[in-house]
Symmetry: C2
Subunit: 204 residues, 2 copies
């Protein structure tokens, strides 16, 4: 059987750097190298957003005891397991986002990924998924604790503590949304890379 594409094609070299869709009629799709580059920019934007919001959520939660009352009995974040979980989750996501921002900038400027390409797209997608679930879980847990604290005396006596932890939780949820969008984009990136690989495999 004749292997189509590699024998009769007038240009047997890979032509994936041509971005015009009519140059690759075989695939009848707009997915191309330039598409991938545009995606990398969007992913960078959402990673920056995830970094900012999760870092500020962790910092806000950490500084809840920097309010007016420095009394011994005033509540601190480390008195509550759920708030410790929120700080841990947001710090982990901030660190991960920082690494991913570096990797994104590196890829945009040098044109190649930090890890081998196949590992990189799956690494990104897998971690985005896991960290989105982690942030949502931490946010839900913290929100339920904050609701419980409103029912007892804590929030009547130390209102600043409750308001500040509410702000930290909201920032954490915005961070979750950013990671969620990054995860959808990097899932689509896995797909684009797979199509580019298939194009290469057909031409060489």
């Amino acid at each position: 059987m004749v292997r189509n594409g590699s024998v009769e094609s007038p240009s047997p070299r890979p032509r994936i750097h041509q971005t015009h869709p009519h140059d690759t009629p075989l695939f009848q799709s707009t997915v191309s190298q330039s598409n991938l580059r545009r995606f990398n920019y969007w992913i960078l934007v959402f990673r920056l957003s995830a970094f900012c919001f999760s870092l500020s959520s962790a910092v806000f939660m950490l500084t809840t005891n920097a309010a007016h009352d420095d009394a011994v009995d005033s509540p601190r974040w480390y008195h509550f397991g759920a708030f410790r979980f929120v700080i841990a989750a947001n710090s982990i996501v901030a660190l991960y986002s920082l690494f991913e921002i570096g990797a994104s900038v590196w890829e945009i400027y040098s044109g190649c990924t930090v890890f081998p390409e196949f590992s990189q797209v799956w690494f990104d997608f897998g971690h985005d998924q896991v960290f989105a679930y982690l942030l949502l879980s931490a946010g839900s847990t913290g929100t339920e604790l904050a609701r419980q604290l409103r029912g007892v005396d804590t929030c009547r006596v130390h209102n600043a503590f409750c308001i500040q932890s509410d702000i930290a939780l909201s920032l954490g949820f915005v961070g979750f949304l950013s990671v969620l969008v990054s995860s959808l984009l990097s899932g689509y990136r896995v797909e684009i890379k797979a199509q580019l690989d298939k194009m290469l495999a057909q031409f060489v």
Copy 2:
């Protein structure tokens, strides 16, 4: 420019019903119609699991007040917002899973999807994602409430209530894992369908 594949190919008719991978050397992948069928069986298994676990989680939580003590002051699930959330989330997922089980069985027996194929795969994938997040959020919220109840008198006086709600929460988490796996599988199904569509578009 010569359009590869459609002119020189010895058999211009679509051959997607042949399942042997060597019959389609152009794609160099094992993705095929039979692969899709095997996936449908696996998705059905995880949907059944999601249905069983989320339904039993909701029922367990609903019957927490059927224990020994029928006193007026004994805690009920409807006294706690987080437990109401757990019941609502698990009921919604049980209903959705029931619908999806029906759709899966229909697809396996009749060979076609309930909605148009393109809508169906995206409908499944989108809802799986959303409901996985919903169940995780409900589970985290309920777990934090259960932890708080251990700190106050409720669990010392009404231990059966706490044990039963813990069981309901665990069942909910197993349901979450099932929906998570279904979501990954239906994400891969979107990919398989896209490849099959591309195969068809090349041959016809």
